[in-house]
Amino acid sequence: MIETNIDIVKKGLGKRYRAEKRFRIYGVCAIAASLIFLAFLFISIGTNGYTAFQQTFIRLSIYFDPEILGDTTHRESLASANFPAIVKQSLLKMFPEVQSRGEKKQLTSLISSGASYYIRDMFVEDPNLIGNTVQVWIPADDDVDMLIKGHTERGVEEAERRLNNKQLGWIEKLERDGNIEKRFNTIFFTAGDSREPELAGIWGAASGSFFTMIVTLLLSFPIGVAAAIYLEEFAKKNRWTDIIEVNINNLAAVPSIVFGLLGLAVFLNFFGMPRSAPLVGGLVMTLMTLPVIIIASRAALKSVPPSIREAALGVGASQMQMVFHHVLPLALPGMLTGAIIGMARALGETAPLLMIGMVAFIVDVPSGFTDPATALPVQIFLWADSPERGFLEKTSAAIMVLLTFLIAMNALAVILRKKFEKRW
């Protein structure tokens, strides 16, 4: 029998169909791989971080002993008043069996070293407390916190634990008496950075990010839109505008750390602007976000049909009036979308801020554009570097907060686009 062409094709057909199927499966696998990774990332961060929204507190009955505090009538003497001794005293009252110096030290290490400041703030608010006893929930030390949350095991050898057997016994007694409890962690949302995980919060970093973003938004959006309008509506096609275009496209792809180097050399070293300031951070971010906003704004302007322009010019509008009265309002939603996406990217950016000194350890919450500050992503970087177990969950929780902001911003962009998108 003679083999015809159709036979040759048919013989190979099964193999070719199998190849087709395999190819399809590769495609599905590729997408599945990315999605699995995405899910893995979110789950890993979520499981690490959700416990940070709770914090272990210990109940103490604080007696504001006039003898220990001494003269409390003046503000100056309050600063030096012995509040740590009051905290210590109330702890010792709960555990009368503790006598030796070393044991006392171990006992006081169960509560946060910031406890005395809380007591002091309480007292400053209400000086009538003197001579009275009050029940106060005080944040526990991060070692205790980790133990209560189950991040560190109780069963392991004493030598490998951060807390020794005696301290464990005390904690168990506190638990039995209901004097230790997990509560919602307000410190995390209201405090600045701290060396102690139980006292560290993201408010300082979040305000730093806020000030930085304000500067970025106020500068990059108007400038970006103006540049886009000029390039799209007014500029003649010539060498000069070609150079500007190539420049913008290149800047969009320059590594962010190079912008940090620019900020360090120009804003800090040449102009002598303050280090670690949100103002400088905002300026660097502006330069970084500008190309994104310009490109998005130009696309938005391009999508406005020429008929609008012709109609405006036809009824006697000047070119400027045509752009500002007719084209710009129609392109604005697209521009806003681009700006939000650019801002979201700037909010998550870390590397350039490292260059201009926004990595310093700053406890105070910044209150202005030139106060030393850090930013949310930088705070994540700083905490990720800290060896304490307590900072691990704080890092993950800070990441969750940052991602929430980013998702909200991107969702806003999507909604804007959906709502105002016009098909001509």
């Binding site: 990332l41 000029y230 590594p255 190079v258 400027m320």
Partner: protein, 466 residues
């Protein structure tokens, strides 16, 4: 910190004055129009007279304001230095810098590093005085300029004044100025990086930098110090960068490309509309999050897996950093390739189908070759992104510069070294600090070349089918 609030208030004052100018200009135009016999006698609509006044009120004042603030600190510092006693002035530059820092710290009321001597306290007083003098004079000058401009324009308003044309011309100049900022940014980057690099290459010759096989930027502070050779051979750093980027591309290119092909050729509408935004989320996650994830989860996982197979894996292995970086880059590759694959004309596919090719054969033998230049362009852009990526490698890759191609060992990258050299205490003018700028220059040049090639390739390709 009252003095720091001043600029913001001044800025608001300027804004307020220009709003006032707008109102006054508009009123004035109505007034002159009434004298001339009605609003139709005006050349432009009243708003334009208002805008003209507002612009003239705000722009000169704003220009003075920003230039003043930009140069203020520098000039005051120079003045303070020149007023220092001679023995302090003649100190070497780095010592002088320290003293200036201390003076600024005294001004801000912070603790200073050295015992403050009387001449420095005096200098701090001098600094404070100059600072407040400068703020006061700035306030006065800016407000005077704004008001004078407002009054002058008020005077010139008459029905013949071509206000609209003036305003439009001014706006046009503002637009032009805004669009040139991109150029100034590029010039700024090139100049700042180049200037410091040239100073670096004066100490360390360019050939040593580019061909040296050892990188240990710790400079000896004392002459007799041991172990701080200060060798600046960039080859191991480049090798590390290339190794990590290569691992990243091995992950990103196949996955990204296959995702793009599946999404554009196979997937139906609903699947596409769900999967595509999910992939884009990968691009939107901040790199510091990837870095944390790489250091916390992926690196230990790889180390444990390696230990299972009796392999000695470093806990800061290039593999972990490269893997996570690759995943970060997937959406760049996939969305750019998606665009170019979609741009391939349907007629090419139809032709292939007509010849009896299966779908995958069409894709492999017709669509991908046709889209190849665009895909190459997108891969090049992704490579440049990988080389410039900072946070993942800072957190997950190591600091020690090993000359190796073993992905299980620790390597370092250009960006890691820039961060390591510039974060924390810096000594100005030491080769260690300047080396960071030399590395930055290399980074800028390499990524620039990659971007230009990619853009040219992509643009050429797009024109082919249009």
């Amino acid at each position: 910190m009252d003095t720091n609030m001043n600029p913001t208030i001044l800025l608001l004052t300027i804004l307020f004055l220009s709003v006032m100018g707008f109102i006054m200009g508009k009123r004035r135009s109505y007034a002159v129009a009434n004298d001339a016999g009605g609003i139709s006698e005006l050349h432009s609509r009243p708003t334009y007279y208002g805008s003209l006044t507002a612009l003239w009120c705000a722009i000169p004042a704003l220009i003075i304001f920003s230039f003043w603030l930009l140069f203020e600190s520098r000039i005051i510092t120079d003045l303070v230095i020149s007023s220092l006693p001679d023995q302090l002035q003649n100190l070497p530059a780095d010592r002088l810098n320290l003293i200036v820092n201390d003076i600024k710290n005294i001004v801000n009321g912070n603790i200073v590093s050295t015992d403050s001597n009387p001449s420095m306290v005096a200098a701090a007083e001098h600094y404070k005085k100059l600072n407040s003098l400068s703020h006061v004079s700035l306030t006065v000058i800016v407000i005077v300029v704004a008001i004078v401009a407002m009054l002058v324009i008020q005077r010139t308003i008459n029905p013949k004044l071509r206000a609209r044309n003036h305003v439009e011309k001014m706006i046009k100049y503002i637009l032009i100025a805004c669009s040139t900022i991109a150029i100034f940014t590029t010039i700024g980057i090139v100049l700042s990086v180049l200037y410091e690099s040239i100073r670096f290459f004066k100490v360390i010759p360019l050939t040593d930098f580019l061909t040296g096989l050892e990188w240990s930027p710790q400079m000896a502070i004392r002459a007799d110090q041991v172990g701080s050779s200060g060798s600046f051979g960039v080859v191991p750093v480049f090798m590390g960068t290339i190794l990590i980027s290569a691992i990243a591309m091995c992950v990103a290119v196949p996955i990204g490309l296959m995702s793009a092909i599946y999404l554009s050729e196979y997937a139906n509408r609903t699947f596409r509309s769900i999967a595509k935004p999910l992939l884009e989320i990968l691009a939107g996650i901040p790199t510091v999050v990837y870095g944390f994830f790489a250091a916390l989860t992926v690196a230990p996982m790889i180390r444990d897996t390696g230990a299972f197979f009796w392999l000695d894996v470093s806990s800061e292995s290039a593999l972990a950093a490269g893997l996570v970086m690759g995943i970060m880059i997937i959406p760049f590759v996939s969305s750019l390739s998606d665009d170019v694959i979609n741009a391939v004309p349907q007629s090419l596919r139809d032709g292939a189908y007509a010849l009896g090719a299966t779908k995958s054969e069409t894709i492999r033998q017709v669509v991908v070759p046709a889209a190849l230049p665009g895909i190459v362009g997108s891969v090049l852009l992704a490579v440049s992104r990988a080389i410039g990526e900072t946070m993942i490698v800072v957190m997950a890759a190591g600091m020690s510069a090993n000359l190796t191609v073993n992905p299980l060992k620790t390597v370092t990258t250009v960006t890691v070294q820039i961060v390591a050299l510039l974060v924390g205490d810096q000594e100005f003018d030491s080769p260690k600090t300047l080396a960071a700028f030399a590395l930055g220059l290399m980074l800028f040049i390499v990524t620039l070349i990659l971007n230009v090639i990619a853009l040219v390739v992509v643009r050429k390709y797009r024109e082919q089918y249009e």
